[in-house]
Amino acid sequence: MAAVSPNAGGPIMLDGVPLKIRLERAERMRKVKAVGLILPLFIFLMVTFAIPIVVMLMRSVENPEIVQVLPRSAAAMRLWDGEGFPPNEAMQTFAAEVVTAKAAKTLGKAAKRLNYNASGFRSMLFKTGTKLERAIEKEGEEAVLQGPEMLERFIDIDKRWGERRYWSIIRQASPPHTAWYLLRSVDRDYDENTDIVPISEDQAIHVEVLWRTIVISAVVTLLCLLLGFPIAYLLGTLPTKQSNLLILLLLLPFWTSLLVRTTAWLVLLQNEGVINDIAIYFGLWDEPLQLVRNRMGTYIAMVHILLPFMVLPMFSVMKGIDPYHMKAAASLGANPVSAFIKVYLPQTLPGVGAGVLLVFILSLGYYITPALVGGPADQMLSYFIAFHVNTTVNWGLAAALSALLLVCVMIFFAMYQRLVGVGNIRMN
């Protein structure tokens, strides 16, 4: 900086430093201070939010079980080219490690992992361990574990060992990383030649669930748009005094807890609930109708919960539309319908787009409401993520499904960011 010639930088301050450099310095200080103010929150979110999610998502490609429990077999299986059956030495190693792991009580972990690929693998592995132990007692360790015909021995223990499928499953579970969970999250699997194939139809569920998640979100978004547009229009065109009053009717549900609103619909819609009773009293239908724990209940409750998120962005755009535009259109001879379509509607589109994307993004991740007012056939991706964490404790699959859901949300969030800009998200 000192090398700058005095007359190149414009005016020079009293201390001999050119003004331009002083300004740059001050500007840099401002930036440093700004970053310093953001840093605490940034670090906080990294530690409590971003890193946990990334670590969890990593589980979808991690494959530690076989490597940890049967390390030498895993190495031997990785060397096997996948043709025919594994070489005899690999089978010897495998037999020895199964016996050791069973004695060390770590076999369960490997068995659980292999059972994900083929149910029944767990019991087969434990049975194999027990029979090998007995054979060692009878024939001696060397005779069993150094045997020349290991495959025969395995088939004697359980004839399923004669199927190549089981050996290739062990091979596929042997590397420390795998794409298998990600494949399963879109209903694909490796066959015995490690080619990617669709899984059998009775097992395929996730693509259907993903499709269902998108359909439910789309229907909810459409219904919210249909119900939200009229009231946003009404609020946007009323004088402020009246709209301020009416908007409270919109904000009360907005501020009311999601769980409270879901409970309210459960109470209203159940067979002995208020709506069935009233309808039967007025003779609309004779028997209590099943309104809840099905798709209908899910739609009603979700639309009710998400409607304010649709109305608020549309309202804030409509409030800014000059009412004289419509009057001008009318005075130029447009009838009210064509004036509305050609003049008013195009101006509302930013609000409509923001509302539609927001409601769609929020619906994709819904869990509580479908879990309480939906039936088994109305559960969305979130439900299955929670299911694999809580019930099957299959972290790999839960992480893969999370990644799938996250990718869907990110695509629409990127669109939302294009349209609205994250910095421009407003509340109220």
């Binding site: 979110l45 946990p52 002995e272 929670a386």
Partner: protein, 280 residues
């Protein structure tokens, strides 16, 4: 938007039809919340009208001294503690970050903003599962601190958004004026910046409070019975046997929502008035 005197009969008919349609939609929005409140005072455990009398029985189940009441009361204490701690943390961290975000442009600012906002966009189950997995390894599962940290994360974007919005209309010459008049930066912040951004800070913290107060999914994963909050207790109740006690608890939550809503509205209108934005 009164109907114009020169409107044709068709326009008049449409005007009233439209109002009726809007009325029905507002009815749909409000009805479920209002209809369940009285059912919490029904002396018998049925969820329909006509009610068979009036009783405080179900509120007694919450505030009494039976084992279930004690669970309810503990969940209320937990809810309050978690919400207040999370709100304080979120408000401080969020306000500082918003000040930084509006102070200067720096490379990667949109990306940083997107990260700070992402807790409201990432599906809550993904957040909860990620936290459960990670917090389990550092011993934060089944602790109130774990839930407080999680709820701070969920509430912080609201603070960042509202405070940044308030700061967008903020005239930085006021800070320079303060400095010229001899105040140090801390004094300028306390005497000039803070009073101006307070409404934004308060509304942001109310949003953060509501986010924690209503939250259930993270609590489902991170809390054991000791740390149950009111929504978590309601969840068990709804899953097992829907009893009017749940409605009594829901009614209390609704009352708190109403209080929060009116405070927000009052703040919003006050700041509009002060900025002279309210048209007649």
């Amino acid at each position: 938007m009164a109907v114009a005197p020169y409107a044709t009969p068709v326009e008049k008919a449409w005007y009233y039809t439209f109002r009726v349609i809007c009325g029905l939609i507002f009815f749909f929005l409000i009805m479920p919340i209002l209809v369940i409140i009285p059912l919490g005072f029904n002396p018998v455990p049925f969820f329909t009208y006509p009610m068979e009398g009036f009783s405080w029985r179900w509120y007694g189940e919450i505030f009494g001294d039976s084992p279930i009441s004690i669970l309810w009361q503990r969940s209320m204490v937990n809810s309050v503690v978690v919400a207040i701690c999370a709100t304080l943390l979120a408000t401080i961290l969020g306000t500082l970050a918003a000040l930084g975000l509006t102070r200067a442009d720096f490379p990667g600012k949109p990306a940083v903003m997107a990260i700070l906002i992402s807790p409201i966009m990432v599906p809550i189950v993904v957040i909860a599962v990620g936290m459960f997995y990670f917090y389990a390894q550092v011993g934060l599962v089944s602790t109130l601190s774990g839930i407080i940290l999680a709820h701070t994360t969920l509430g912080v974007p609201f603070v960042v958004i509202t405070v940044s919005a308030t700061l967008q209309g903020f005239d930085h010459n006021l800070v320079r004026a303060g400095a010229i008049l001899g105040a140090n930066p801390v004094r300028v912040f306390r005497k000039v910046t803070l009073p101006i951004i307070t409404p934004g800070v308060v509304s942001g913290s109310l949003f953060a409070f509501a986010a924690s107060w209503d939250e259930i999914v993270v609590v489902l994963f991170l809390a054991s019975t000791e740390q149950h909050t009111v929504p978590r207790r309601m969840w068990s109740g709804i899953r097992e046997l829907l009893s009017p006690t749940i409605i009594a608890a829901a009614t209390m939550l609704i009352i708190i929502s109403i209080l929060l809503m009116f405070t927000m509205e009052w703040l919003r209108r006050r700041s509009e008035r002060m900025r002279g934005l309210t048209p007649s």
